[in-house]
């Protein structure tokens, strides 16, 4: 009887302990759930939601260095630089020599214009991982920002050794050399930046203009500066429209303008998204479907392009250019039969457009009908010369 009483009393005192253990287990389950959902959101590009999940997880288990790093990465994606820096710092307090967390912190310092803080962090990155191209790249850029050009040159050269087609790194190297009065080397690197850079990369033209000017070649300098100004204007328009579409997400005119700018910039990936947004706002506008089709064609997605072109034709069945685009999408897929029907329809609706004849001529040639191929080629030449004389 006395033993039973002892056991009962013992168990009574154990209850808080059991509860604590159970709660801890429960908390860990919740932690796992938040982390998993954080990753799922992050992979889908929903960084705001990922941030909420990772923060919730870290409330339950605050010393998870890896999760702190992922939280920082999500903040970085959202350009919340200060929060990102804090997350990385907390992560590094737990794992001081974590190469990627150090690199991430270096990038955030760079973004926050804290170049002097970025330098030692990134130097540690390349010390720990001597093949870390991104580390060299941002370290070199930090040196350029700090006007330490002599230090920047070997670091950027090493970055290019590891990552030879990095346009931005060539540009930074060119800038460092320009400031060191190594004009010929700078010109070479600005040219490389243009070779590997995106279609409308403006800054290297400015660098080239300056370098040519310093070398006394005024003509070349002026030409480069003109290109730079033109691209800057385009970019300013792109920036303006991007801001406008963010501020007014239902402003169809702004979205249309942005789509046009993106097509001119040959930024077809973003153009697809923009045309899709236009279609959401105005589903029955054939021009948007047509634009979407052209953007898909440039990205080499002929099936998607055909689908969009078909919709455009449905909406505006008497417009020659839409049939011409539809025909091109079929031709890209090797569907010569439907391509022929579409091109014929385009010529039928507008027989004076030279390029419709040219497409038809090419198609007839590939079908082996030389007679009709020649006939349409002659029509192409005829209408092209007419068009030119009108322009004169």
């Amino acid at each position: 009887m006395r033993n039973l009483l002892t056991i009962t009393i013992f168990l009574w005192f154990c209850i808080p302990f059991f509860n604590a253990v159970a709660e801890k287990g429960n908390d860990h389950s919740k932690y796992v759930q938040h982390v998993e959902q954080g990753f799922a959101f992050m992979f889908q590009g929903s960084n705001q939601k990922a941030i909420s999940e990772f923060e919730a997880a870290l409330t339950l288990e605050p010393d998870q260095a890896e999760v702190l790093h992922y939280l920082g990465m999500a903040y970085t994606q959202e350009q919340f630089w200060n929060q990102a820096a804090e997350s990385y710092q907390r992560s590094l307090a737990l794992m001081p020599d974590n190469i990627e967390a150090l690199y991430s912190l270096g990038v955030v310092y760079f973004r926050l214009d804290k170049w002097a803080d970025a330098v030692p962090v990134l130097e540690r990155v390349v010390e720990l991982s001597p093949q870390h191209a991104r580390g060299y790249e941002v370290l070199g850029k930090s040196f350029v920002k700090l006007r330490q050009y002599v230090a920047a040159v070997p670091v950027l050269t090493k970055a290019l050794e590891l990552k030879p087609q990095a346009a931005g790194t060539y540009y930074e190297l060119g800038t460092a050399q320009l400031n060191l009065k190594e004009y010929t080397a700078a010109i070479e690197n600005f040219k490389q930046a243009l070779t590997f850079g995106p279609g409308r990369y403006a800054e290297p033209h400015y660098g080239l203009g300056t370098a040519y000017l310093r070398l006394g070649d005024r003509e070349k300098s002026r030409a480069e500066m003109q290109i730079y100004q033109q691209l800057q204007k385009e970019y300013a328009e792109y920036e303006r429209l991007t801001r406008l579409t963010h501020a007014e997400p239902k402003n169809l005119e702004a979205w249309t303008g942005l789509a046009t700018v993106l097509m001119n910039q040959q930024n077809y990936g973003q153009a697809v998204q923009t045309f899709q947004r236009c279609i959401e706002l105005a589903p029955n506008n054939a021009d948007f479907h047509h634009g979407l089709s052209r953007a898909f064609m440039n990205l080499n997605y002929p099936k998607h392009a055909a689908q969009a072109a078909k919709r455009a034709v449905q909406l505006r069945p008497n417009e020659a250019i839409l049939y011409n685009t539809l025909g091109s999408t079929y031709a890209m897929q090797g569907d010569q039969k439907n391509a022929l029907i579409a091109f014929q329809k385009a010529v039928e609706l507008d027989s004076e457009q030279p390029y419709y004849h040219l497409n038809l001529s090419k198609l007839y040639r590939s079908l082996g009908n030389q007679k009709l191929a020649q006939e349409h080629y002659r029509a192409y030449e005829h209408f092209l010369s007419l068009q030119k004389s009108k322009q004169k």
């Binding site: 796992v32 759930q33 991104r134 590891l162 990552k163």
Partner: protein
């Protein structure tokens, strides 16, 4: 000296009519081997049983690992993500790779023998279709094991006398020598368990081998979707670039990844990913300590070189 011929006994009543004919006449094989005592008969049947068992085990083992022959293949891509560039030639010695990812049942056998609690897979009580470790080991023995870190995967592989595949080995097994975008070919097909709704496994794992049409050129299953797979290599976004430069004129030989890093490479995409992330060239990275419901692994083993 007797001359022996392997021949068929003319007496059809004999249970085994294969024997050896000598100058002394025909003698059935069992008499040559054991004689006719009850003990010898028992031994005979036991040996047949054991032989059959050994054969089954051998056949099963042979089926679970696929031999990827030595040779060169194309790794990476010039048209997709930046870290897949450049497309380059890689030579690999012959190796074996798991036909399937390691399953719950297989990992359970390893786990039972572990004294280190760290080797226990993570519980996912919020995902009833995956569940906690004990439940899923029992209910879903053929699902790929998840909730295991890179270290767990490595320990399991060592326990089996094998290893994790290198990133290059993984890609060759998935891609074959014909540069396939997905293991089955270049067209988007519902032949993998991804986040898409048309694959029959929405928001859950599929048992290994559920998509036979999704097998790779070499017959390796589930190399797209279901679970990401740990590889042996550290991740570096520029590794292809600098590792292939020296090999511009000849293929890189048996690459094993960078010497240092923070993340290990994972490959193949998973049930929470879009099909684009499940391509044969898509590279992703993960902290080796993390245990999630979407990362598992498969085994690899170096094939012994033939003696010349």
């Amino acid at each position: 000296m007797n001359t022996f011929y392997l021949s068929r006994n003319q007496n059809r009543n004999s249970p085994i009519n294969i024997g050896i004919t000598s100058k002394r006449g025909f003698k059935p094989l069992q008499q040559w081997c054991f004689g006719n005592s009850p003990l010898s008969i028992m031994a005979r049947y036991l040996s047949i049983l054991l032989f059959g068992l050994a054969l089954c085990v051998y056949v099963e083992a042979a089926e679970e690992m696929i031999l990827i022959p030595a040779g060169t293949f194309t790794m990476g891509s010039d048209t997709r993500a930046a870290d897949e560039k450049p497309k380059h030639k890689v030579y690999l010695d012959a190796y074996y790779i798991g036909k399937y990812e390691v399953t719950n049942a297989e990992y359970y056998e390893f786990w039972k023998q572990q004294t280190d609690a760290a080797r226990t897979p993570e519980n996912f009580t919020h995902l009833p279709e995956i569940g906690d470790w004990h439940a899923r080991a029992e209910q879903f023995p053929n699902h790929p094991v998840v909730g295991v870190s890179w270290h767990d995967a490595n320990a399991y592989a060592a326990w089996k006398g094998m290893r994790l595949p290198t990133e290059a080995e993984w890609e060759k097994a998935a891609r074959g020598y014909t540069d396939r975008v997905w293991p089955w070919g270049n067209a988007v097909e519902p032949y993998a368990n991804t986040a898409a709704e048309d694959d029959g496994y929405q928001n859950r794992l599929a048992p290994v081998g559920s998509f036979p049409k999704g097998k790779s050129y070499y017959g390796v299953m589930d190399m797209a979707g279901n679970v990401w797979e740990w590889t042996a290599d550290w991740y570096s976004d520029v590794y292809y670039g600098y590792s292939s430069q020296a090999a511009a004129k000849r293929p890189k030989m048996n690459p094993t990844g960078p010497d240092v890093g923070s993340w290990r490479v994972i490959r193949g995409g998973s049930w929470i990913d879009k099909i684009a992330r499940c391509s044969t060239t898509f590279r992703f990275y993960f902290y080796p300590n993390l245990k999630t419901s979407f990362v598992g692994f498969r085994l690899a083993k170096t094939a012994e070189k033939r003696k010349k």
